[in-house]
Symmetry: C2
Subunit: 543 residues, 2 copies
């Protein structure tokens, strides 16, 4: 397959990327790590796992023949090779990995385009528009909600548009601390380009390694900051978006009150309106000061109240993540008896004693205990970290690989997330936990359901749930879909949102369609028709 890609002069940006699972082939779990995961999960669930499935072989997967061929002018940037089509079939949801492991690549796009320039993006969209093909923007392919998967039952051809070659930082404005950056850049490349300038976007979603700026903006990605500016769109100064009807370029501004924000209409548009080829992004100076602490609580709701107090304090901690006791233990950061609140501040400007002192005082007022001392660094930004926080962070970045390992062990292993106001939080947390646990037990016979708060606001929080359960071979996707439906119903009934930062995609549509006002959906459809009259852009998401 490598050969065929080279024929098209369209190599993947990373030749060793897995076509069926997360990340790079050489980072996949080895036999030993897989055994460790297996032992941990078996202990947690109390049921044995079957022997691990072997990763699928590209030659053996079931991939339909493409039903179209690119026009000659686009041949240099369009691939129909097995590898490219398989690797662009799915995102990285649990249901995607399971289908990939099973060799099922039925929804594969007919072709994958790798535009190198904005003009080539325009040319690819023109081709799709003319032929009525689904044009599916593909950033890092890390969608967990079916955001990059063609719905082939619509009977039309589909082209996955991989933006990986639009991966440059084009311009840096040191004075305003901002940069003009191409949409297809991956997280690590973006940070590598900014680091020599002492700058950072500091956007670290769990998908950081394999997700792109354009994808973050299109999905309203949530990242590093647990309070204040939590979503990527808070850092957007201006956008350049290619739609089937032409370019939308917004003015680069620190703020404006001139009508509804165009940037905010494209943020979260999930490829349904166009492709983000460039953005002016607000950056940060790399932090010189950092203070981090882990606070332990006996009662989860006490810990949540402490998180609320921090969220309402005006201290704006960089990190304010609450792991429930089971989640902490599963991540190697606790013994399962205490809930952990990870609090951290960072600054390029000033020492953080006053901030952390007050934060810890607030935690104590809410029943928290803090024993280890405060980890502080003054230089570099990868310095020492508080033990539990450090363990959790390592696990955080490794999690997608571990999840794939769980899939190979036949397990159900997935997450879902939401946000809700504080007044509803206690009942909401209880009902979503209970609905999810009950559904999982009923469907799978055993269940681990854990919760953390990933983001904290003055008026609410973003709870994030992880489900591990035994799966029945061949039924895992359906089993998960049923569990997820039960959870989603509890979320909607409890006043939450169907997603805080994972996006809507195709998988969340049934609940999104109930959450968002009907007339707003009509407005969105109308706005889409204005720039995408042929309805080619990522059909099936949002509207």
């Amino acid at each position: 397959m490598r050969t065929s890609r080279q024929e098209y002069h369209a190599p993947m940006p990373h030749p060793t990327r897995s076509f069926w699972g997360w990340g790079y082939d050489d980072s996949q779990l080895g036999a030993e790590e897989l055994s460790t995961v297996r032992a941990l999960v078996e202990a947690r669930l109390g049921v044995p796992c079957p022997p691990p499935l072997a990763p699928p072989s590209l030659d053996a997967v079931r991939l339909p023949s493409p039903c179209l061929a690119p026009p000659p002018a686009l041949a240099p940037i369009v691939s129909q090779a097995r590898y490219d089509r398989a690797a662009h079939t799915y995102g990285k949801a649990y249901r995607d990995i399971v289908r990939g492991l099973d060799g099922d690549f039925a929804p594969a796009p007919d072709a994958v385009a790798y535009p190198r320039t904005e003009a080539e993006v325009i040319a690819v969209l023109a081709w799709c528009d003319e032929r009525g093909l689904s044009a599916i923007p593909y950033g890092g392919g890390s969608s967990t909600v079916g955001g990059v998967e063609a719905r082939r039952d619509e009977g039309r051809g589909a082209v996955s548009i991989d933006l990986g070659r639009l991966g440059q930082v084009l311009e840096i404005d040191h004075v305003s601390r901002a940069a003009r950056i191409q949409g297809g850049i991956l997280g690590p490349a973006l940070e590598a380009a900014l680091r020599p300038h002492g700058l950072s976007l500091r956007h670290y979603p769990q998908s950081f390694e394999l997700s792109t700026l354009g994808g973050w903006i299109a999905t309203r990605s949530g990242g590093h900051f647990a309070t204040l500016h939590t979503h990527i769109e808070d850092f957007v100064e201006g956008l350049r978006v290619i739609t089937p009807r032409g370019v939308v370029a917004t003015r680069r501004l620190p703020a404006s009150g001139a009508g509804p924000s165009p940037d905010r209409l494209f943020a979260g548009s999930e490829g349904a309106l166009g492709i983000v080829t460039e953005a002016w992004m607000r950056l940060h100076e790399r932090p010189r000061f950092r203070a981090a602490a882990t606070v332990r609580f006996r009662q989860f709701l006490e810990a949540a109240a402490a998180a609320r107090a921090l969220g309402q304090s005006g201290l704006h901690p960089t990190n304010c993540r609450l792991l429930d006791a089971a989640e902490a233990q599963a991540n190697g950061a606790g013994d399962g008896t205490e809930h952990l609140l990870l609090v951290a501040f960072e600054s390029a400007d000033h020492p953080l004693e006053a901030w952390m002192d007050r934060a810890l005082a607030l935690c104590r007022e809410h029943g928290g205990a803090h024993k280890e001392g405060v980890g502080r660094t003054r230089t570099g930004d990868e310095g020492e970290r508080d033990g539990a926080a450090g363990a959790w962070r390592s696990m955080f970045l490794r999690a997608p690989y571990l999840r794939d390992g769980c899939c190979r062990l036949g397990l159900i292993a997935e997450t879902f997330e939401t946000a809700v106001t504080w007044d509803r939080f206690p009942a909401f947390h209880a009902s979503v936990m209970e609905a999810t646990r009950a559904a999982t037990l009923r469907i799978a016979g055993a269940a681990s359901v854990t919760c953390r708060l990933t983001h904290v606001y003055p008026d609410g929080a973003a709870p994030y749930f992880t489900v591990i359960a035994p799966g029945k071979p061949g039924s895992q996707v359906q089993m998960w879909d049923e569990i997820k439906a039960a959870a989603a119903e509890a979320i909607l009934a409890g006043g939450g949102t169907i997603t805080h930062h994972h996006a809507v995609g195709r998988d969340h549509r049934p609940w999104y369609d109930r959450e968002r006002p009907d007339l707003f959906a009509e407005m969105l459809r109308a706005a889409k028709r204005a720039v995408d009259p042929g309805a080619i852009m990522n059909p099936g998401v949002l509207v």
Copy 2:
């Protein structure tokens, strides 16, 4: 006229409000204050003012006869009295006051509706839709951009919809620190309702006294906070909007990533999409700690660099307003030789020494001098203030009355504002000042053009300009329009926005239409058609 209003059972919320100018009749400038203003302006411009015009008499103003009558079912909430129609003819731009003083009320609406309930809002819109009447939402009537003025050359009837009777705080959520509030509530009534609960929205635009929550949201109003969350939409949890096609009610959430934000499409929609009848708003605990200081600079660009440093520091000062030397002097807060940076922090949670100490250190690093000591308060929120800041604040709230006084003295007196990134700021500031000064001198023969920064961001600032000049009787509107056009051209050429927080209205359309992407305008038009197929909602603004 009082009698006729009473016949309709539709009293104005404030019976003493001026029908032609800012505020309340009993707060207008007296003869002595007017003399003081006159002396100050004459000294500044070096030319004499003519004797002050008397305020217009309602009986004498030129008001066209209404071209329609309300249906009987709406008669109890619709007035066609002279007072009501005159008082709803204009916003409070300079060009509005001048026309009002001149007795010109040609664009008066044919009727003013005072709905008391959402059902009555719906009924009024249904009437307008059926008859093809312009439906002009009217909050506090403080628009400075022609946002509430009917364009009568369209030949259709116009109804001003005064939301003043939808002025209640409906529900308070202490846990989440939020409240459900009706759109027609005025600033003082809103704060009065929250104060007993220890809460505050802390949104204090210069129009605070006579502007409404719904109006703030519809115009993306900028308020109290000079950094961080500067615009009202940052505090919106959820909205309830009445459109001609029905109600749009968004889910109350602390944050969400579910598609493009519906709240952000209605924020800034300026009445063109619907009427904001309710909003869930994020609130603040009333501050217990405050620290304020005034820092003096010899060089304006040094002061701006200090403001930039503060904006980029992560300290998030509540106030960070830079007055240039002339502006400071005009506001009674300086002798005209030094530029003043007003810095303040406030908190309900913690003392602010560390914050203010670092802020003052940053100012010193940029050449600032701080002599008076830091004003600090620990209880109440109306305590002692630093002298210059206090003087400036008093002037800030009195300014609209003073502006009306200037109008009576035949002067041109108006402001305009924008935002621009820091890299462009020095050249931008110079070119806008120069273009405005040159145009004013050419057109009026004398000019005072001053600048302040009202809001400071990590990547830019919001400059705010004040123009005072002698006017020629009968030509003032045209003179100002020419000056404003020159300023607006410089703003657009320099990379700024046509408005940071004054909105677009009808007056900014020529520049807004060039600033916003054409395809976005098409999207907005399409979205509008989806909820307002008859195009009745505030025609002429935005699209």
